[in-house]
Amino acid sequence: MIVLCGIAIVIIGFALRFNPLVVVTLAAIATGLSAGFDLVKVIGLVGKAFVDNRFIAIAWLVLPVIGLLERGGLRERARSLIGKLSGATAGGLLIAYLGIRQLTAMLGLTAMGGAVPMVRPLIAPMVEAAAERQTEVDSALRQELRAHAAATDNIGLFFGEDVFIAIGSILLVVGFLGQNHISVAPLDVAIWALPTAVIAFVIHAMRLRLLDRRLAQRKVKA
């Protein structure tokens, strides 16, 4: 039971809005100590696990590219492009992006999106520009639109990638069942992700339509 103290530290630390990096580090050390490892071993475990997960950091290699292109006016260009498309709405744009993100993820192209290379320089400025034609965009609404752009990127990825047979989650399922003497093909598992993928698109697209309707109603009020 006492090994659960790390979970308690995380929940309390996040609730009290302490720096998450510090909270997570303390939780890791507390969990290791409560499992009976000595401090040197726990610090070693933290170091090894951090180094073993360096692959996560490779995605940051795009930072200089995006920074340079922003300096060159990429976000401004993305905005003016949407300005020319008179029918585009914030919700409509995000629905189109949701569909593209899901379809490319289903083909295994999970790298075709993401907050740094896609949402910040392209999707968010386009959505903001479209919304500015629908209503007056104050700072709070701008933040909400950006959050919607990031959320759509995530939903499209999560409920698209599981349909692809060579993705980590499917391989984990196949491997785990194999260890338990149940032999299945990746495709058998992936096919059962398809209904959820379709319904995810429908549900999220409906919410984005509601966002458009809310933007339209704001205009009437103003």
């Binding site: 510090v22 939780a27 070693g44 933290v46 692959f55 590219v65 292109l69 959050a147 149940i182």
Partner: protein, 316 residues
């Protein structure tokens, strides 16, 4: 075969350049905090494969310690709004070419690199192909961006550092959470949680077990920040012995929808920092949980959908 070390060194060199650039930034009184933070991260990336575990751990703790004091972003030297608007008009859609080169090269690399053979053996291991392709995409994008904007090379460091500063400590949080997951596994946290669930909820009805399993997957994912960590625990603890063993459910339907129920937990938790906290920082949102708040309604509805699909189809 070429491993990932070359890519780790490349990534490390980039963060080392950010650290050095902070070190020379005399306008920033607290520049040593930023230099130390990004410098340690760079060392861990470049030398991690060869450092003893304990030394890596000490470096991680030192880096977190500096972050706890508060990082000091350097002065922003990017162009002003008017210059950017003029530049956007001048460069036009060529800007998109450089931006989209990243995903296009990544995609092409993912498809082509597995066929790159040297003496009949693949040059890169299959599991590394996506990450190597991503690095190739970033390098291609950088060369195109430098050529297109005509900016001198050191601007790449300055602009990259500007973005890294705006993201701050959230840059290393996903890796730290993965480390926490490793410690949880080593300490046996999952087994304790599964036993607790089994002992507290009466599971005599087939549909009740499905509900406990799907909601358990989502909750456990919320705690761990990762459906992959939740899946083996919940499936070994509840799924296989009860849904499959006791009530004769289909293990394929159960596993597929169980994993997807975990995916419904991911959008609802700050522990999935890579997807939820990092984008909030990248998009400069004042509320760290703004992305999570937008995602919760979709995630909850989908959790209900997954549970219903499993109830109707797992026992067919």
């Amino acid at each position: 075969m070429i491993g990932l070390d070359a890519v780790y060194i490349l990534t490390g060199v980039m963060f080392a350049a950010f650290a050095i650039s902070h070190g020379f930034d005399t306008s920033n009184k607290r520049r040593w905090r930023s230099t130390t933070f990004w410098g340690i991260f760079a060392i861990l990336l470049m030398a991690g494969s060869w450092l003893p575990d304990f030394l890596s751990g000490v470096l991680v703790l030192a880096m977190v310690g500096v972050a706890a004091l508060g990082l000091a972003p350097g002065k922003d030297t990017t162009s002003d709004d008017a210059t950017r608007a003029a530049s956007a008009g001048r460069l036009g859609n060529k800007l998109f070419v450089a931006a989209l080169a990243i995903p296009v090269v990544t995609m092409a690399g993912t498809l082509l690199l597995p066929h790159l053979l040297v003496h009949g053996a693949p040059l890169f291991a299959a599991k590394h192909v996506t990450l190597v392709s991503l690095a190739l995409g970033a390098v291609t994008g950088l060369l195109l961006a430098l050529r297109l904007t005509g900016a001198p090379g050191h601007f790449a460091t300055a602009e990259g550092r500007r973005l890294a500063d705006s993201i701050g400590w959230a840059t290393v949080l996903p890796q730290m959470l993965a480390a926490l997951g490793g410690i949880f596994a080593a300490a046996g946290v999952g087994a304790v949680v599964a036993t607790l669930a089994n002992n507290t909820i009466p599971m005599t009805q087939p549909f009740v077990v499905v509900i406990v399993y799907t909601i358990g997957m989502a909750l456990f994912t919320i705690i761990m920040g990762n459906a992959f960590a939740a899946f083996p625990v919940m499936t070994a603890g509840i799924g296989l012995p009860l849904i499959v063993g006791k009530f004769g459910g289909d293990p394929v339907v159960m596993s597929a929808l169980g994993m997807l129920s975990g995916f419904c937990g991911t959008p609802m938790t700050p522990m999935a920092a890579n997807f939820n906290i990092v984008p909030a920082a990248v998009l400069e949102l004042t509320d760290r949980n703004a992305v999570i708040k937008v995602q919760i309604p979709t995630a909850l509805m989908l959790l209900g959908v997954n549970t219903l699909i499993m109830i109707f189809f797992v026992y067919r």
